[in-house]
């Protein structure tokens, strides 16, 4: 027999229509003595009776699933929606809609899906696709609305919160063969400029008390008739601080195969630099130059690399009011660290920060992340001229920075930093008078 309608379910206009037409036709049939009118009402009455003999008591449950594996920009995503029916009667129709991040290109995700869900069962919708950009990209929220009893009852929409998919930045190939300006640790892969236990030959000298016997160079000793030892340069590790300028975002991101905005270049370059130096055994820390000023402490190894990637997912443009300056003092940065500043150099405060760091004796390298075609939007006939002036002014700033001893290099992947690292290393070997 018919059960009362459970909360969460409501009668539709179709039920109202059934009742109205049945009642009206019955009344007319009885009043006019026309059995044909009663028979016209029969399908509506029978349909309502058959469909409403059992009514649903609970609403559908929607679950969003997505790949939890290590997903990189341009990689395939396998997302899905599962609709479960805890009822003893099936849902005639469940309409499921989901929102997705614009950076996840999922098949048919912009359309609603109409499915049936059997009693005590579930139905799945696959949403295969591709991740277009780094970051925490959402699949969802998803909403489902079920219709039961032949469309005579519908439930209120059931909304499921979004499921985050972590898309790691693609690491552009990066290699820097130049020595670090100030390798400081006790162990590591860099050739230091000091003599010590290492693999790089520094020269041959006469044996002195304290020298290890295995260091004796027998060939030279036999030739000179005097004991000589091979001296080597010690191997050291270094700290690399990657400083991300987040004062502004410029350019439109086109995803992994499209144009790169400032943030795209910043994040991808940071990931590549971190991967390179961590692979070599150095310690890498990351710091934001913006309102938030997040910092990731220095660490080494693969674990630190994964931590850096995770940390980079939360990078956002983080502007600070023009009258304030982000809090970043040279005292926050180790004197021996190589500071790689990824900056578009469009804010005067970024140039000031670079100059101050160099003045404080930090080994600073600026990587220009501004896209080549970046320009303010054209508003009137003066816009191109204004853009040209702005470009000239920016070139002046870059020139002044170089005069202050801040090497500025445009990011170009592999070998980007070799030239400037050589300059920085040369400067580092000079006596520090400041």
């Amino acid at each position: 027999m018919t059960e009362p309608i459970a909360p969460g379910w409501a009668p539709t206009r179709a039920l109202g229509r059934s009742v109205l037409l049945t009642g009206l036709l019955l009344l007319l049939g009885v009043a006019l003595g026309r059995v044909d009118l009663v028979l016209l009402a029969a399908p509506f009455a029978i349909g309502a009776a058959l469909n409403l003999r059992r009514t649903p008591q609970s609403v559908p449950e929607v679950t969003i699933t997505a790949d939890a594996a290590h997903l990189v920009e341009g990689g395939a995503v396998q997302a899905g929606l599962t609709v479960a029916n805890p009822e003893a009667i099936g849902y005639d129709l469940v309409v499921v809609r989901t929102k997705t991040s614009p950076w996840l290109r999922l098949e048919h995700a912009d359309r609603p899906f109409a499915i049936t869900v059997p009693s005590d069962g579930w139905a799945a919708i696959d949403l295969p696709g591709e991740a277009r950009r780094w970051g925490r990209q959402d699949v969802g929220p998803a909403a489902a609305r079920a219709a039961a009893c032949g469309g005579l009852l519908t439930c209120r929409p059931v909304v499921t919160p979004a499921h985050g998919v972590r898309v790691y930045p693609v690491t552009e190939p990066f290699k820097a063969t130049e020595s670090m300006p100030a390798a400081a640790g006790l162990v590591g892969a860099h050739r230091s400029r000091r003599l010590g236990e290492g693999g790089e030959l520094a020269g041959v000298r006469q044996f002195a008390p304290g020298d290890r016997l295995r260091r004796i160079d027998w060939r030279v000793s036999l030739r000179t008739r005097d004991l000589h030892v091979a001296s080597t340069l010690s191997d050291r590790d270094a700290e690399v601080l990657i400083l991300l300028d987040l004062l502004g975002e410029v350019g439109l991101s086109g995803g992994v195969e499209g144009s790169a905005s400032v943030l795209d270049t910043t994040v991808r370059a940071a990931a590549a630099i971190a991967e390179h130096y961590l692979h070599r055994g150095d310690r890498v820390s990351v710091l934001e130059y913006g309102a938030g000023g997040r910092r990731l402490r220095a660490g080494s190894g693969r674990k630190q690399y994964l931590t850096v990637l995770e940390w980079l997912l939360d990078v956002r443009a983080d502007p600070v009011d023009e009258e304030y300056e982000p809090v970043l003092g040279a005292h926050h940065i180790s004197t021996s660290a190589l500071v790689v500043v990824l900056t578009p150099l469009i804010d005067p405060r970024s140039a000031d920060m670079l100059a101050k760091l160099t003045q404080a004796g930090r080994y600073t390298v600026a990587v220009d992340t501004l896209p080549e075609d970046a320009a303010p939007p054209v508003r009137n006939q003066w816009s191109p001229l204004a853009t040209r002036l702005w470009r000239i002014e920016r070139e002046n700033v870059l020139g002044r920075l170089r005069e202050h001893g801040v090497p500025v290099v445009a990011w170009a992947g592999a070998g980007s930093l070799d030239l400037v690292l050589r300059d920085v290393a040369r400067m580092a070997s000079a006596p520090r008078g400041r």
Binding site: M1, T2, E3, P4, I5, P7, P11, T12, R13, A14, R17, S18, V19, L20, L21, T22, G23, L24, L25, L26, L27, L28, G29, V30, G33, R34, V35, D36, L37, V38, L39, L40, A41, A42, P43, F44, A45, I46, G47, A48, A49, L50, L52, T55, D92, L93, V95, H108, R111, P112, F113, A114, I115, T116, R145, A147, G150, G151, L152, T154
Partner: protein, 187 residues
């Protein structure tokens, strides 16, 4: 009102671009049922007159706006035509016409119910309309059997249709009342 209408009209190109096959076919089904019911129920003279455009407009309304009251109006137009034809034009109450009108009215009603919950741009599993129509056909079949039996019974009883209609109508009214009482009772 005018703004809403203009907004709806401006959405037409998007709707046409995004529409999918199954919801479109469902709406075509509603239109087809409406037109066939109109042809079967209304007198031929009136269908050949200038009023036919207005009548077609009425029965096509639910195909374009299945969530509104159009389906109720369309059904009432069909029933009105049937009453006019049988009472006003003295047409015979033929079995095939009663079955056809009842079937087309119910199919139109249930397809409108489906179209009301099925977005026009949905990706639809084919079992959705299949099962929906399957259930509707069962209802139509039962009704058709009932119609044959009832109309046959009135003939056997010597045309005492009034009594049969009263009995069947009262029984159905009682059933509907019980149904409504149980539906409106909340847990």
């Amino acid at each position: 009102m005018l703004t809403r209408l203009l907004r709806r009209l401006s959405r037409i190109p998007t709707v046409v671009r995004r529409a999918t096959v199954v919801p479109f076919l469902v709406r075509c089904g509603i239109a087809l049922c409406g037109i066939l019911a109109l042809v079967v129920s209304w007198p031929g003279e009136l269908l050949a007159s200038q009023f036919v455009g207005l009548l077609v407009l009425f029965v096509l309304w639910p195909a374009f706006a299945p969530r509104g009251r159009g389906a109720t109006f369309a059904a009432l137009v069909v029933v009105g035509g049937w009453l006019l034809d049988t009472a006003g034009y003295d047409s015979r109450v033929a079995l095939w016409r009663v079955i056809a009108i009842a079937t087309l009215l119910y199919l139109g009603h249930t397809l409108t119910a489906l179209a009301a919950v099925l977005p026009y741009d949905a990706v639809v599993n084919l079992d959705v309309p299949g099962l929906w129509l399957g259930r509707a056909l069962i209802v139509v079949l039962i009704s058709a059997v009932l119609t044959v039996l009832a109309l046959g019974l009135t003939r056997d009883l010597g045309g005492e249709a009034f009594q049969v209609a009263t009995l069947v109508g009262l029984a159905a009214a009682t059933g509907v009342t019980i149904l409504l009482v149980r539906l409106t009772r909340r847990t």
